[in-house]
């Protein structure tokens, strides 16, 4: 995200704090897809992820006056999304969650033969990324897709910066193991 967009996000938040509905529509249009995708990768259920969006942006509407601009608005949105997603997951029964999660996204670790047959590294990579644990998925997404710095990820997840770095390292190692099990050797580790 450019510095200009970050600055205008701040202006939008200030206007939202004043009850400006149009500013809310602009902010929503700018960020709702990324918020949805981040939420979906955490809860693995489209219906819940859509509900999350409404909850996240309603929180923004209510809390905009308290936003102090210490982080980028996009970082603030992802932090709220994560909190809401974890709350949503806690509300659901574990068994129900596991069944739906298994049905929602195919896990390469369960069917490596399929990936081997396809001989398609990029497809296998996508499948294995889907097979990572929630903790590893979120850090991979935050760094690679949402392009958050070490400091920003630490702020969103609420862990020390060194833990951010090592967690991503071990997420990548796990990804390499899943790929190896799927017959994909990449030369690391």
């Amino acid at each position: 995200m450019s510095a200009t967009q970050a600055a205008t996000d701040d202006v939008l938040i200030a206007r939202i704090a004043e009850g400006d509905r149009l500013a809310m529509q602009v902010l929503y249009g700018r960020h709702h897809v990324r918020v949805f995708r981040f939420g979906l990768r955490l809860v693995r259920n489209e219906q819940i992820a859509e509900d999350l969006i409404s909850e996240v942006f309603l929180d923004v509407w209510r809390q905009a006056g308290k936003f102090e601009g210490r982080s980028a608005v996009s970082t603030w949105l992802l932090a709220i999304t994560r909190f809401k997603a974890l709350s949503a997951l806690r509300r659901r029964k574990d068994a129900e969650l596991d069944d739906e999660a298994a049905g929602a996204i195919e896990d390469t670790s369960d069917n490596p033969e399929v990936a081997v047959q396809k001989k398609d590294t990029s497809d296998a990579l996508r499948r294995c990324l889907g097979g990572l644990s929630a903790e590893h998925r979120e850090i991979v997404d935050l760094v690679y897709y949402h392009e958050k710095s070490v400091e920003e990820v630490a702020g969103i997840i609420g862990i020390p910066e060194n833990t951010v770095k090592t967690r991503l390292f071990y997420a990548r190692k796990k990804l390499a193991e899943l790929l190896k099990a799927a017959g994909i050797e990449r030369g690391w580790p």
């Binding site: 509407w61 308290k66 760094v143 710095s149």
Partner: protein
């Protein structure tokens, strides 16, 4: 074998190695980015791992982009919830810029045009006042119609009207800055942001035209003031 490669074999990540994903995403600060670049240039094993990371980076973007977008239902639900929220009063947390931009966005083009005309008129008025002040250094006075040429009768304006000004603040002026400025000039806002201009009244009513023009000139040079003109 190089240090970073050795660490890879031992499966203990080194400091530079840990930063590789952020380097691939372009989110490292220039100093760390330079350190990583130097390490990549001298360590082929690290460079090989970096190539793997770039694949992961592309794969993660690919995966996320394939997730699609939410339906319109999410937005409808959000704005229905917002509509059900109690109306809020303007708070002091928002800065002047946001208020002004919000104010201007609510105006029609015709109204904006009229406001601009009013602003131009105010500028001309200010120029006229300054010119009049420069041409005459005499204190404010008036002459009667029955004035004798040899013995002019003059009278000071004892009950002078309060000094007022129309002021426009710069877009990023904050409420705290404006409050400090009002204290400094012993002024108070007596009318809101009509056309982006605030009407100020000064506590000191004993100012001559010269003094008032000087005050406006000083105010005009303040960082948060874009325009300050006298007004009745």
């Amino acid at each position: 074998m190089m240090a970073a490669s050795k660490k890879i074999m031992e499966q203990e990540p080194g400091d530079i190695e840990l930063l590789l994903p952020w380097h691939a995403a372009g989110t490292l600060n220039p100093r760390d980015s330079r350190k990583v670049e130097e390490a990549l240039a001298r360590d082929p094993e690290l460079a090989r791992q970096y190539a793997v990371i770039r694949e992961e980076y592309a794969g993660t973007i690919d995966l996320n982009e394939s997730l699609g977008a939410p339906s319109a239902r999410a937005m409808q639900k959000l704005f229905a919830a917002i509509d059900a929220e109690p109306a809020r009063k303007p708070g002091s947390s928002a800065n002047i810029a946001a208020r002004l931009s919000g104010f201007f966005s609510s105006l029609s083009p015709r109204t904006l045009a009229w406001s601009a005309s009013l602003g131009a008129f105010a500028l001309v008025l200010q120029a006229g006042i300054i010119a009049a002040v420069l041409m005459s250094n005499r204190p404010a006075s008036f002459e009667t119609a029955s004035l004798s040429r040899n013995e002019p009768i003059t009278r000071d304006l004892a009950a002078a009207p309060p000094s007022r000004a129309l002021v426009r603040f710069v877009p990023d002026a904050r409420v705290g800055d404006v409050t400090a400025l009002l204290d400094k000039y012993q002024a108070s806002i007596i009318d809101g942001a009509k056309g982006g201009m605030f009407r100020l009244q000064f506590a000191n009513t004993a100012m001559s035209k010269d003094e008032f023009a000087g005050l406006l000139s000083r105010m005009q040079s303040e960082k948060i003031v874009s325009l300050a003109v006298a007004t009745p």
